[in-house]
Subunit: 212 residues, 2 copies
DNA sequence: TCCGAAGCTGAGCGCCCGCTTAGAGCGCCC
DNA sequence: GGGCGCTCTAAGCGGGCGCTCAGCTTCGGA
């Protein structure tokens, strides 16, 4: 399960739950390499090199290259799901909750777009059981978003003829941010999040949107 | 597999412009394989095998495996751009043109999702100059959609605070259909196209939408 | 002081990759 | 009929891949 990632000093560090230190460095190197070139185009020599180690060192901490991808996918999905759920379960009406969910989910996919790319686009490189585990996590994303939209419809705040289809569209819109987002582009993750939250409220026909 | 688009007076099948026949069969096999496993995970032996030929036969028609990907990407993008432009330049107001553009673009990405996947997600496997060529084609997609939205804003039909951002979002939404669309799922390409056209009209705040 | 476990490296194994080459089959034009 | 060019195959080359293993270093505990 996803737990707090704090050192004794209290600082939050991205892959804090991965120990020992060498294993974490290898995993961070793998995320970089997979995001840049793709899983199949990345060699174990490249990963080890980025982590400042010999190729053989990788196999002390991970059984195979695929296990690295699996760990990255699981942790990444859990983080994204955590971000989404926190927003979905927050205080406020459906419109506020949906806006906050989209805002934070998009912010994560933009800010952590290297991880997000690996997590979203390398699923097929996993074996059947690892893939099944990840797919289950994805369905929880879907359920979280659908839940908010259903609440909004029930409350009469939203006008949505096709709840399942709209849910897919909203999630798809957010996830695809990981594909096109560019750190050197004109927008910050916060700005994209705000823009997308507004667009999604329009998609669900929210009766009263927060001021732009 | 859908191969034969019937000809009434000379209209061609999906990859009709690729000759000779053996080159076309190899290309179709490559599209299947790339879409299924990804470019880097696909071997030239696999492609040739699917086309019913020996591995060496591939190199009579294509200089390298990368050239195959390049040809697929170029033709695929040109087809998609053609679909989009035809709709963008059709008769009617901005709302009708935008709806038709989204409807047909989405229909293409759903119906031809194998090609679309290769075209959209394997761009990084291309060399610098081939990639530059494809990126140029993408910018034309962007310009086509932005043009319609600008028309709608100028005519007072749309309410769009951020035209560039909304353009990216609309295209992103359509393109990502290629990732999640499933032939065995509950929706046909036509249905997804209709749903998405409605959602996009909401996103741009179209004053009067066609009947749902 | 010594010992065993843990972490890591240099060397390298066996496999399969993209791609090449020599040559066979076959239709076409003179 | 015969040479030619196009298409295709069987065989295989060089190389880089994922991964392994023997052995070195480091270090905490008895």
């Amino acid at each position: 399960m996803s737990t707090a990632e704090e050192t004794s000093g209290g600082e939050v560090q991205p892959w804090g739950e991965v120990t020992p230190d060498a294993a974490r460095r290898l995993l961070v190197a793998a995320v970089e390499a997979f995001a840049e070139r793709g899983y199949h185009a990345t060699t174990t020599r490249d990963i080890a090199g980025r982590a400042g180690m010999s190729p053989a060192a990788l196999y002390i901490h991970y059984k195979t290259k695929e296990e690295l991808l699996h760990r990255i996918s699981r942790i990444g999905h859990e983080k994204a799901l955590d971000v989404l759920r926190t927003a979905a379960e927050s205080e406020g009406g459906p419109a506020e909750r949906l806006a906050e969910a989209v805002r934070s989910f998009v912010r994560w996919h933009a800010g952590q777009h290297t991880v997000a790319r690996v997590v979203q686009y390398e699923l097929d490189a996993l074996g059947p059981e690892a893939r099944a585990e990840i797919v289950a996590l994805r369905r929880q994303n879907d359920a979280a978003v659908r839940g908010i939209i259903e609440d909004g419809v029930a409350a009469g705040d939203f006008d949505v003829p096709d709840v399942r289809g709209t849910t897919i569209a909203v999630l798809s819109l957010c996830i695809d941010v990981a594909r096109w987002f560019n750190v050197n582009g004109p927008r910050t993750p916060d700005e994209v999040g705000a823009l997308y939250a507004d667009l999604v409220l329009r998609m669900v026909g929210a009766k009263s949107r927060p001021r732009p």
